[in-house]
């Protein structure tokens, strides 16, 4: 078995006449921390939506451990072990912090309707296991004290963290983080990146993260894919990407010759 976890084979996404993503190819190895960067409107979130089944690619396919994810619904892809967070936070706002995490654990529930109605032993032990696991996950980001508060009552930064906790509760193989540090200040960002590195170790996770800010990903990513206008313009280690003429052009433009 190869060490490639997630692979995109020539995935293309068309919206009418617009090619949002054009024949994109990349491989993410097991345990890798990869970054997907690019200027505004480069198609980064569209790529995430294709990887998680929100959009079906117009052509090309996505493979997880050499198995095609073609035609699977988002929930099925989640069951296979691909999870994500959202750029514009999508928590279950009116539910408690704990419920948010518990919902992500639903796919691992062992009891059925019958157990629920009769409150059997099976129901109680499984429910207890779920709750304990959820609390443990919340502890990573020190959210356990707020477990019974509604998700909207959390400050912005903590809502982003809760999204990560919720994604972890699905027991993923790979977690896709869509601008996890958006709206955070420098020290918060730094702290978040450390935590991401830590959970990756602890859960033996593979991480793919979108970041807008190039400097930020340089520190932690091992492999960086640069997207511009839906096309991959560069891929490789941070040092390589940093010095690529194409990347600098995409971000800063090019000087016109007189």
């Amino acid at each position: 078995m190869s060490d490639v976890l997630l692979e995109a084979r020539k995935i293309t996404m068309r919206f009418g006449g617009l090619k949002a993503v054009d024949s994109l190819e990349f491989q993410i190895k097991k345990g890798q921390l990869a970054g997907l960067i690019g200027p505004n409107g480069a198609g980064k979130t569209t790529v995430f939506n294709m990887l998680t089944g929100v959009y079906q690619p117009t052509s090309g396919e996505v493979l997880l451990e050499e198995q095609s994810l073609q035609g699977l619904a988002p929930y099925e892809i989640s069951h296979r072990g691909v999870t994500r967070t959202f750029q514009n936070i999508r928590l279950f706002k009116n539910l408690t912090v704990l419920d948010n995490v518990l919902i992500a654990g639903h796919q691992h529930v062992k009891y059925g309707l019958f157990d629920t109605l009769l409150q059997t032993e099976n129901f109680r032990t499984d429910e207890k296991r779920l709750q304990e696991k959820a609390i443990d996950l919340l502890k990573i980001f020190h959210l356990e004290d707020k477990a019974h508060k509604p998700a909207t009552s959390l400050p912005y930064g903590e809502q982003r963290k809760l999204e990560i906790v919720r994604a972890l509760a699905t027991d993923p193989k790979i977690i896709l983080l869509d601008e996890p540090a958006a709206g955070m200040n420098h020290s918060e960002t730094h702290h978040l990146m450390e935590t991401i590195a830590k959970i990756r170790e602890e859960f033996k996770l593979t991480v793919l993260l979108i970041e807008h800010d190039m400097k930020l990903v340089m520190g932690i990513c091992e492999n960086i894919i640069v997207l511009d206008h839906g096309v991959k313009i560069e891929e490789g280690a941070p040092a390589k990407v940093q010095n690529s003429a194409k990347v600098i052009e995409a971000y800063l433009g090019v000087e016109e010759k007189e």
Partner: protein, 323 residues
């Protein structure tokens, strides 16, 4: 508050209430109370779809009709038990009524629950009407004449006990489901479908599940209604009946079980309680006051009586704190 946790205790309490009512109030009020029981079942079941799962269904009367017709038809044609075991027979038929309605709910829900919001409301409204019109044209259930001579329970006490039994079953079924992972799945669909899918929730399946469970209890409510009135025809299950159920859910608070119960009782009792006023003034102000109170209610408490809280939460929040 212990009755919230123990079904047997709740049933016992309701039956004792039934005994008290049996001797204290007249037959007219007793009948209204039985209708309140039917409406409790309707609003609790609709709350599961409209309140908890966030899907706007406007066809609840259709499922009620299916249940009512099944139980009515069965008890006039297929009576199997000796008179001493009639209660068992009624239970079997109401259960059957619920199951038939649940199957109908599944058939209606599967295609229509892919739609959202207003579209779903219109489609369910359409299905509700289709069921009614179909019954109108079926000769073996009497067509527009309806079914008459449906056997009742004989006494108020039996009727009330039977309604109580189903209310307790319905309440605890929904309550327990909502306090399990399945119930949290329903809530996640209401909160954010895209996020729910990404977290591994099969949202279509969740919606169909909620819809089927809801239809089941609507069918049971219909069956009880048939046995209490002894006569049903298609015009007992018009669009207005569906709207009435929605009003009860909204008034009680979307996603509040006890709210649904309280609202169902208010909505059933209020128009009747206002009747003496008509004799006094000579004008029928009943519906004017009824509608006005609904309008005022929505202005003053837009989230319904209890919002998404339960009676027990309200108790904890206001009563105990002030004590």
């Amino acid at each position: 508050m212990k009755a919230f946790k123990n079904p047997a205790l709740a049933l016992l309490g309701l039956c004792l209430l039934g005994v008290a009512l049996n001797f204290s109030v007249n037959a007219y009020i007793q009948l209204i109370l039985l209708f309140a029981g039917v409406n409790c079942l309707l609003s609790m079941s609709l709350n599961l779809v409209n309140g908890y799962t966030g899907q706007f269904s406007l066809g609840h009367a259709g499922f009620m009709a299916i249940g009512a017709y099944f139980s009515a038809y069965a008890s006039t044609r297929w009576s199997f038990a000796p008179s001493s075991l009639l209660v068992v027979q009624y239970f079997v038929f109401t259960l059957g009524a619920g199951l038939v309605a649940a199957v109908a709910g599944f058939l209606v829900g599967l295609p229509s629950l892919r739609l959202k919001g207003d579209y779903l409301a219109i489609v369910t409204l359409g299905f509700g009407e289709i069921i009614r019109v179909a019954l109108l044209n079926m000769d073996f259930v009497g067509g527009p004449r309806g079914l008459s001579g449906i056997p009742g329970f004989g006494s108020f006490l039996w009727s009330f006990a039977f309604a109580s039994l189903w209310i307790v079953i319905c309440f605890f079924t929904i309550w327990r489901v909502m306090h399990s992972s399945h119930g949290r799945g329903f809530l996640s669909v209401r909160e954010d479908e895209i996020a729910a899918e990404a977290m591994g929730i099969n949202t279509t399946r969740m919606k169909v599940k909620a819809f089927v469970l809801s239809s089941f209890f609507a069918g049971v409510a219909g069956a009880l209604f048939a046995h209490f009135t002894n006569f049903i025809n298609p015009s007992s299950f018009t669009f207005l009946q569906s709207v009435n159920a929605v009003i009860m859910v909204v008034l009680g608070g979307m996603g509040s079980m006890t709210g649904s119960i309280v609202a169902a009782i208010i909505i059933t009792v209020l128009p009747e309680a206002l009747r003496p006023l008509q004799e006094l003034t000579g004008v029928d102000l009943r519906m004017v006051i009824y509608s006005l109170s609904l309008v005022l209610m929505m202005i003053l408490r837009p989230k319904g009586l209890f919002g998404d809280m339960e009676l027990s939460d309200v108790w904890r929040k206001y009563v105990r704190r002030s004590a």
